[in-house]
Symmetry: C2
Subunit: 191 residues, 2 copies
DNA sequence: CAACTAACTTGACAATGTAAAGATAGACGT
DNA sequence: ACGTCTATCTTTACATTGTCAAGTTAGTTG
């Protein structure tokens, strides 16, 4: 099955090869033909699995997002309270993208994420990490017995998300080392 | 001088044409050859002014950043206090990029901004808008008579910047309409 | 006025995305 | 078991693009 005419699992192999190339030489140097070559298939083979380059890229994004979500959920699972979980999420958000900044640019850089959302029916409406934050935030309100209007909740969520995302953005773009105070659980995200 | 062999001011014309193309059809469709065609010169003419495509793009970024800084400084100039000025900056940051989201992706999307900074000796160390915020923030501390350590100041600045940048990022990516509460000066950025 | 040089043109090449047409091999019904 | 079907892959071809090398033009300078 290694060098047969039919690859067997080309679709996944293409995604993996794409991730490898991005990690090694960045997104700019990711081309359909290189990905195909990496899998030892002809340059047009990917068109059996993806309608165009963008669809492959979207598939890669989904794969990376899955990986990201695994780390997020793993760290959340270890937390006793929702408050801890939210802080943990912030920490993972920063460490994950500090560890591989290329992913950040790749995921959030070019295209608007809306396109990515719409292509993934799985993501019903929210971006999975954001949906997780939302769940934890609602839990947090319950735990603390806090009552907030829907609008207030939305604003809080945007604030939290904006700050964490913005910090990751700056960290990835400017190479700022900002493990920040969030290693210290005393730091409060919720004002 | 319109159709003479020597264009006269091709460099600036290329930058303007680049901005026009980005506004009309996005960054992806910006090619050296289209830019050249837009200026009615041959496809290799840009190489008299830029060593490669990236250098042209950096020049365009600088041009857009200048435009951005003009708006920021204009709005800051109208403010009586530094506190107002900081809030005004936040508002301009959001409105400027909400008005033309393509600029946001173009400026902060692909490459790390470090490269852009290093190519512009004018930007000594800080990104001009950030440098402006820093000035306003220090002024704010003076006005209020607040004493903070250098590290505390840095953290405050990162917080403010992260949140505003993150919100702009989300607004531009997800199309979220988030003029937010910042139209209301009561909203506090400094915690 | 001759030499120089920056600005531009022309022609070429390799890399790339993509379409069209053909080849292959496994699955499926009879 | 055998023919058909169809998803998968190859081959060929083409337009777009970034970039280079060599030539051309025209203004500038000695």
């Amino acid at each position: 099955m290694a060098d047969s005419y039919h690859h067997g699992n080309l679709r996944q192999a293409l995604i993996d090869a794409g991730i490898k190339i991005i990690n090694e030489s960045g997104e700019e140097s990711l081309s359909l033909r290189k990905v195909a070559a990496e899998c030892n298939v002809s340059h047009a083979a990917p068109y059996a699995h993806f309608n165009n380059k963008e669809e492959l890229i979207e598939a890669i994004k989904s794969s990376v997002t899955d990986q990201f979500m695994e780390e997020l959920e793993a760290s959340v699972a270890e937390c006793a309270t929702a408050e801890e979980a939210i802080l943990a999420m912030g920490r993972i958000y920063l460490t994950f993208f500090s560890r591989n900044p290329d992913y950040f640019v790749f995921l959030f850089g070019k295209q608007n994420i809306n396109a990515h959302l719409q292509m993934n029916k799985d993501y019903k409406n929210d971006y999975p990490p954001f949906a997780l934050l939302k769940r934890m935030y609602r839990l947090y309100l319950e735990e603390k017995g806090i009552e907030k209007s829907f609008e207030e909740q939305e604003i809080d969520l945007i604030k939290i998300w904006s700050m964490v995302h913005g910090m990751a953005s700056i960290a990835c773009m400017k190479g700022v080392k900002t493990s920040f105070k969030w290693n210290n659980p005393d730091e409060r995200l919720l004002v």
